[in-house]
Amino acid sequence: MSKQINVALIGNPNTGKTSVFNALTGLNQKVGNYPGITVDKKQGICKLSRGVKAHILDLPGTYSLNASSLDENVVIELLLNKNDKDYPDVAIIVSDVENLKRNLLLFTQIKDLKIPTILVINMSDLMNRKGISLDIELLEAKLHTKIALVSTRKNNGIQELKQLIENYKTISKETCLDTSSIDTAYFESLQKAFPNQDVYKLWLVITQDANFGKITRQELDISKFKTKSNQELKRLQQKEAIKRYQFINSILKEGQTIDRSKATGLRSKLDRLLIHKVWGYVIFFWILLTIFQAIYDWATVPMDLIDTTFASLAEWVKNTFPNGGMVTDLVAEGIVSGIGGIVIFIPQIAFLFLFISILEESGYMSRVVFLMDRIMRRFGLSGKSLVPLISGTACAIPAVMATRNIENWKERLITILVVPFTTCSARLPVYLIIIALVIPEGSIIGLSYQALTLMALYLLGFGMAIFSAYILDRVLKTRHKTFFVVEMPNYKLPLLKNVIITVIEKTKTFVFEAGKIILAISIILWVLASYGPGDKFNNAEAYIEPTTQTSYERNDQIAAFKLEHSYIGIIGKTIEPLIKPLGYDWKVGIGLVASFAAREVFVGTLATIYSVGSANEGENIDTIKNKMQNETYADGTKVFTLASGISLLLFYAFAMQCMSTLAIVKRETKSWKWPILQLIGMTAIAYICALIAFQFLK
C-alpha cells in the first residue's frame, strides 16, 4: 500500500463540512461506528496526485473542544490521543465565510494542540453578495496556516485543497494563543505535575472530565491532579473563550471587511413568514401533510412492486430447487420472505429521509425546532424531539437514531421511550385489514367511517406518545439542566448530492440494523411454524378427510391443520387464556406472536392460518377478509366483531411488538433497563386498553 495521509475534517455544524467531505471523497466513503458508542463514523478515501491517498475522517460537528454531547466527545478523544490509528497528520477546519469569527474559535483551539491545520473557508461564492472581503495572505500569516477558499456549490477550490493536503508537512505548528496565560500559576503547576505532556492538552483533559465525564481512551491518568473546583474551571473556560475572541477579533479587524449594506434580507424575510405565530404553524403542518402523502401514497407503487417481486421470487425458489426439501422451504418461506419484509420498507424510509434531509439542509428544521420547543417542553420533550416523532410514522428505528442531537439526556430518553407509540408503517397493513373487517362502510360529511378510524388511530398514537411523555417527565428523576441552544443557520438551497448521499446512507443503516433482526426472527418463526411435535403435525394429511374439496383447498386445509399443531400453534393455544378476555382466539394469538418479527407479518400469518394458500393469489386480501369474517367460535358466535376488532386495533396501536426497535433502544441507551421498561410498559397499556374496549363493547 502506498503512503496514506490521515486527515481529520473538523468544523462547526452548518458549515457545509459534509459537502466538503462529499466533494473530496465522492461515493468513496463508508459509515461505521466508533467502538462502544453509537456515533456514526464517516470515513473516505481521497486520491491525490502521484498515487498518494488521503484517508479522510469526517468528525461530528462541534463548536469547540469542550464537549456537551457524545458526538462532540468523539472529536476531543481523537485529538487528545496520539496513539489512535486515526490521529490526524493534518486537520482541516471547515468554516463558513459568514460565520468566520465563531468558526475560528475551534480553529485556534486545534492549532494550540500543535496539529498542522488547514483552514477551509466554505461558501466563498457568497462573499460578493454578502459584501465580505478577506485578506487571505494576512490571515494565513497571522493564523499560521494555509487557507483554501472553497465553494462546494460551485465546485471551486477542491483541487487547491487537495494540493494543500498533499503538502501538509509545510504547514506551521505554531500556536495561536499562549494558552498558559489563561491562568499562569495553574498552568505552571499542571506542567510541573506532567512534564512530558503538552500543557494545553492537559487542560483539555481536565476540563473534559469536569464537563462531560471521563475520557475513556486516555493514556494519561490525570484524576489525581485536581486542585480546582468545577466552578473555577468553568470560569477559566469562559476566560479562555474571551481570550480567544480577543485574538480572533484583532486579526479579523485587519483581515476581514464586511459591507453590511450589501447583506440581503433573505433570512429576515423568510423568518418573518416561516416562524410567524400563525403562518409558521400553517406552513409546517402543510409540509407534514405532504410528507405523509409521500409516505403513504407515493411509496405504495414501489412497495407493491417489491411485494410481488418477492412473492414470485419465493415461488420461483420453491419450483426450481429440489421439491419438499427443508433447505428449499427455509430459503423460500423463511429467508426470501424475511428479506422481502425488510426491503418492503425501503421506499418509505427513503422518502422520509429525502424530506428530512431537504428540510435540514435548507435550514428550515431549526425553525421548526424553534416553533415547537415550547409546546413540546410541556410534555418533557424538546423542540428537537419533533423530527424523531415524525420519523416514527415511517419506522421507529431511524426515529430512535434521530434523537442523538438532543443534548439533554432526560428529554432524549423520553423521546426514545415514546417514539414507538407513533403509528409506524408496519402497523398499517394490520389496521387496514381489521378496519375493513369490523368498521361498517358508509360516510359522514363525505368522510368514510373507515378513513376516519384510520385517522383516529394515527392521532391516538401521537396522543399516547405525548401523554406518556408527560407522565415520564414527572416520574423520571434526573438532574435537569437546560442545554437548549439551537443555531439558526442561513437558508440555502439543498445540494442534491448531499441529499442523495444522506438518503442512501440512512436507508442502508436501516436495512442492516433492523434487517438482521427481522431476518433472524423470520427464520425462528419459520422453524416454529414448520415443525411440531407428535403425529398430528407430522402426519397431517391423514387427518384431513379427502371429501369434496378441490386439491388446492385440501392442501390449504392441511397447511392450516399443520400450523395448528406446530410449535407456534402450541404457543398460540397456550396464550389463549391470556388473550381470551381481549376477544382473541388462539389463531389471533399466533398472529400476535409472529408480529414480533415485524407487525405486518400478522396479515401473512393469518392468511396461512385461515388456509388462504397460494391458490388464491391476487385476491389475497379479500379472501382473508372473507375467511376472517366467517370465522366463528364453537358456539357459532363470530370471532371478529366490532368489539374484538377495536380491541385488536388498540392492542396494535400501543403494544411494543418490534424486536428491532428494542434492540436499537438498547444500543442507544446502552442498557437493557429501558427497552425492558418499554416492552412491559407499552404492552401493559395495550393489554389494559384492549381489555377495557372489548369488555365494554361486547
Binding site: K101, R102, V369, D373, M488
Partner: protein, 77 residues
C-alpha cells in the same frame, strides 16, 4: 434587579455585561454570549419562548430560562 436578555422586546438590542452564571451552557459562551458583545432580539416564539437572537454574528435560539441568566445593558436607539 438586573436587566437580562429575557427582558428585551422584539427588535431591541443590549450589550452583555455578565454571563458568568453557573447554569449558562458553555456552548452559549463559545457562540459569543460574552461580556461586551451586542445581543439583538430578532423574534420570539409564542409565549416569548424560545428567543431568537443575534449575538456576535451568530444566529441562535435559546430558552427564556437561559436568557434570564445573561445580564445586559439596554442599548437605546
Amino acid at each position: 434587579m438586573h436587566l437580562t436578555i429575557a427582558d428585551l422586546k422584539k427588535g431591541e438590542k443590549g450589550t452583555i455585561t455578565d454571563s458568568s452564571s453557573e447554569d449558562i451552557p458553555l456552548k452559549l459562551l463559545e457562540m459569543g454570549c460574552l461580556p461586551g458583545n451586542t445581543v439583538h432580539l430578532l423574534q420570539l416564539a409564542p409565549f416569548a419562548d424560545p428567543m431568537y437572537l443575534n449575538v456576535n454574528d451568530s444566529f441562535l435560539a435559546i430558552r427564556k430560562e437561559t436568557a434570564a441568566l445573561i445580564i445586559i445593558k439596554k442599548i437605546d436607539e
